[in-house]
Symmetry: C2
Subunit: 412 residues, 2 copies
């Protein structure tokens, strides 16, 4: 009997009516002869409501207690969901993280799953029941409740699918799948039928918020076939899967963009060993994630260093490196919040040298200045002025012909 | 170091401001050098909100899933409470039922505590922390969440106090203690400084809803000194404790009343062995609790049988016994919802024969007809027409001189 893990996000279970609607979809899968495990998020808005409640009692809520508070969100949805199924005569049971035995480390608010003991889930499946698991949460080794951070329910679903060796993990959300770019920005955006894990990782980390990035990494590592689709339609969605020969024929699969970062530049930095590591150690110790880093070739023993950090961390970053740059006699610190990062992603570009130059010339044709460039095997990112974001996305989408599904990628 | 268990009800933690207020009271006890365990209910209204949410998905919510849903209520308050304490620099930790290891049977919605493994609570106390435990809930032996029923947090507090051999268990509520009768009915009602477990049991079961009745039974069995007091004042409250010599000198400690029951009378029942048991087995199998039962002496081989059931169960009771009475040739079924039960309670009445007659003559003086009478060692109850309830309570309160705290009870 095939085993399917389905995950439904906050908007899909946003009110009792939607819960009933989604439950009927689950029942259909079950009647079709599948064993079903369902992972649920909190109702849309509930997590924010709980956070605000916490803030009424503490400006800086204790992380352990915040996780206990937030975990109630999924507890409510799984109980309501199971209740509905049982009232329809369908055998079902809800399992919270301590019951489903989803073990994490103790990093409250951003815990990582370290293991799942599937005995209880298997036992319930064996009884013919649909198993409804609370997403987003786990327990540490002594039973403290932890949460996985925003989007954590995706990770719960994929981790359970991996642990159970499920035949398919379906992530239901409010969009129909993974698109070549954001349809709100580019009306020609097209839903992809398939995308490789690696492409999805680049797309997700670049701000295409369809799937939580850790879940994709998990799916890749354990080879879990992942399907992203909408809970509001019956259309097939996007399959995220292992790379195969056909995929390489597509040069570029999508255009991603993000306006979440700010740029910091240090000018006339002494070009000595250890300077960069002091700077990034200081920032890293404050849990600030640096994304792009560019250092120019040294001139006269001095160099310029540019990097990006999340906008919300810019103030703290400047506070941290201010004293440091004075100490090491750097010239000045500049920062800029009005930037955007535009990226093109595709496994096919690995074997094709013309992709980067086409990206640059497309932007140049619109007089869009490129401030920073970074590349990986399957991605090229450019930092530009943020006011050009939408224009750049549309032009790149056109330039790489993404509105048409093509069997073979070409540069013509 | 003395160990105190405090329990705060729903109105005491009804909003963030009240939580902060109550927390300061807990901190005071802790600063005074006590080890503190705090048991919390859900915020007032929250349990009803959750039940209504459940009813949107199922007319008859599955008991297991309803308990999972309801348990979130206390989970929210314990996390907020601990968060507040920690933000004040006070060491604290919240514990849910599976963490505090409060084990129950599997009777969802009305579970009984079968044991508490106090290891984790003791460990947290040893670390100097205030331990905040979710009331009302437990786990069965395989980790399913259960709830104890309305008022269950009182039982949680007393059970923990018993298991930890606490020096005192304080139940904080929105009234100042146990009164001689309901002050809303009788303005002369007086707060009692002390009351015995047995008297409290009779008062609670008769509708004086200050303490949940199971918690009093628990306290009596394990000899836990219990103090009922208000979280909104600093007054001392009522101590519920073992009976002592002084208490016996008080004939009557209080007047309780209840309008929750309805009366059922079966006339001309054949007076044969087995008839009563068939009737009460049928009712008992439907989980309907019969309170008073009166059967008259047989005349000509026939008898009348009268009993009371909760008003909400009257319809079902009549449906159940209708076919039965036809089958056994009873004459008729009468029922009456307009009744009230008035009771006087006091350990002193055990040794004094004049109490019952004073009760009856007090009611007779007001032309109040007594429909049923039942007695225990320390209680006399009369069923009367419900419209006389308030009059009867006030007259009995006067007749036994309850407005004055007397060192020795007399009938003068």
């Amino acid at each position: 009997m095939p085993l399917i893990v389905q995950k439904y996000g906050g908007t899909s279970v946003g009110n009792p009516e939607r819960i009933a609607n989604v439950a009927n979809r689950v029942v259909k899968g079950w009647r079709d002869g599948n064993r079903m495990v369902v992972v649920l998020s909190a109702m849309a808005g509930e997590t924010d409501r709980l956070i605000n409640l916490g803030k009424e009692l503490s400006d800086d809520p204790d992380p352990r207690e915040l996780d206990v508070l937030l975990a109630t969100g999924e507890q409510v949805t799984v109980s309501l969901f199971s209740m509905f199924l049982k009232s329809q005569g369908i055998p079902a049971t809800s399992l919270l993280s301590h019951q489903a035995r989803i073990y994490t480390n103790q990093a409250y608010g951003r815990a990582r799953i370290v293991g799942i003991d599937t005995a209880r889930i298997r036992e319930e499946l064996k009884k013919g029941r649909i198993v409804i698991v609370a997403g987003f949460q786990g327990v540490d080794e002594v039973g403290n409740i932890t949460t996985l951070g925003r989007g954590g329910s995706d990770t719960t679903a994929v981790a359970i699918a991996a642990a159970l060796k499920a035949d398919l993990c379906e992530i239901y959300t409010d969009v129909e799948g993974v698109f070549t770019t954001d349809p709100r920005v580019c009306p020609k955006a097209r839903k992809l039928d398939r995308i490789s894990y690696d492409e999805m990782l680049e797309m997700a980390s670049l701000g295409a918020k369809v799937l939580e990035i850790r879940s994709v990494g998990f799916a890749k590592r354990y080879d879990v076939p992942l399907c992203v689709r909408s809970s509001f339609t019956d259309r097939p969605g996007t399959l995220v899967t292992k790379e195969d020969k056909d995929m390489e024929d597509i040069l570029v699969s999508g255009v991603a963009f993000s306006k979440n970062d700010a740029r910091v530049t240090l000018t006339r930095l002494p070009d000595r060993p250890g300077i960069a590591s002091r700077i990034f150690n200081t920032i890293g110790d404050a849990n600030i994630v640096v994304d792009m880093i560019i250092q120019n070739t040294s001139i006269d023993g001095f160099t310029d260093l540019t990097f990006t950090v999340p906008k919300g961390d810019l103030k703290k970053t400047l506070e941290l490196i201010g004293p440091l740059t004075r100490e090491i006699n750097a010239d000045q610190i500049h920062s800029d919040e009005n930037i955007a990062k535009i990226s093109i992603v595709g496994v096919g570009m690995r074997n094709n040298a013309g992709v980067a130059s086409r990206m640059f010339s497309t932007l140049a044709a619109q007089n869009i200045n490129i401030m920073m460039i970074s590349t990986s095997e399957i991605k090229i990112s450019c930092v530009i002025e943020d006011k050009y974001t939408e224009l750049a996305v549309r032009e790149l989408h056109d330039a790489f012909g993404l509105e048409v599904a093509r069997p073979r990628g070409t540069l013509t």
